[in-house]
């Protein structure tokens, strides 16, 4: 498998998961598995009007690239795409996209899980909730479960 095609972007605009996935696999005959993860904004049972996502410009891209390089070193990937949005996101709209392509499904699945676990805990993005009832929202607290999910890759590695 030739070196991976890697796309990394941090943007306010929505993304087209299908187009990104198609770009990774176009003309390829060596890929057996493509895994696409899309993270969506939930309304938390009607409580939320929107999520506002703040990021650290420059470091966000650099940190995603660092995590992507770790995934490429760990699994034989034929392609990789990570896009993370910032700004105001409405319920039902996409926040993050991870696409991994590989010869076999285990590598594609594991790399996509790893990338999401690491993005959650190391990429400099912060979510603030905007409540549907008009009251001021608050910053989402980091979850111990996300730290634990990222930590398991250290133990397994």
């Amino acid at each position: 498998m030739t070196g991976p095609r890697a796309t990394i972007r941090v943007q306010a605009e929505p993304f087209d998961a299908a187009a990104e996935s198609a770009a990774l696999t176009a003309g390829r005959r060596d890929l057996g598995a493509v895994v696409t993860f899309t993270g969506l904004c939930r309304d938390e049972d009607g409580r939320l009007a929107a999520l506002e996502i703040e990021h650290y410009p420059g470091m966000a891209e650099a940190e995603i690239a660092r995590v992507a390089a770790q995934a490429e070193a760990r699994w034989p990937l034929g392609g990789l795409c990570i896009i993370h949005r910032h700004g105001l996101i409405a319920p039902g709209d996409p926040i993050v996209l991870v696409v991994t392509a590989s010869r076999h499904r285990a590598a594609a699945f594991e790399a996509a899980c790893f990338l999401m676990d690491y993005l959650k805990t190391s990429a400099p993005f912060w979510k603030k909730e905007h409540f549907a009832d008009g009251t001021a929202g608050d910053w989402v607290a980091a979850k111990a479960a996300d730290e634990a999910a990222a930590g398991r890759w250290d133990r397994e590695g």
Binding site: Y56, E63, M116, W139, A142, D146
Partner: protein, 83 residues
């Protein structure tokens, strides 16, 4: 040295960035946090649970015992909640 603040650290301090000129005794990122806390109510609030604060020097994650000598940009922010 440029300091940048994000999320509720930024809100509590009341500005997104500023230039800092800490005295010679401020050696590590943790020292800088302690020094900033003494600068006023907003800083005190931002750093009240200082162990939870994450630090990046020149856009790379570091621990609070990292030395800040030579840093161009030092960032303070809460644990990340992206993805």
């Amino acid at each position: 040295m440029k300091a940048v603040y994000f999320a509720w650290v930024r809100e509590r301090i009341g500005m997104p960035q500023e230039n800092l000129d800490p005295p010679p005794g401020v050696v590590t990122a943790g020292d800088l946090i302690a020094w900033l806390r003494a600068r006023g109510e907003g800083y005190e609030y931002a750093f009240e649970n200082s162990a939870t604060i994450r630090v990046a020097i020149d856009r790379v994650h570091v621990k609070q015992d990292a030395e800040i000598a030579g840093a161009r940009e030092i960032a303070f922010f809460p644990p990340m909640t992206g993805g």
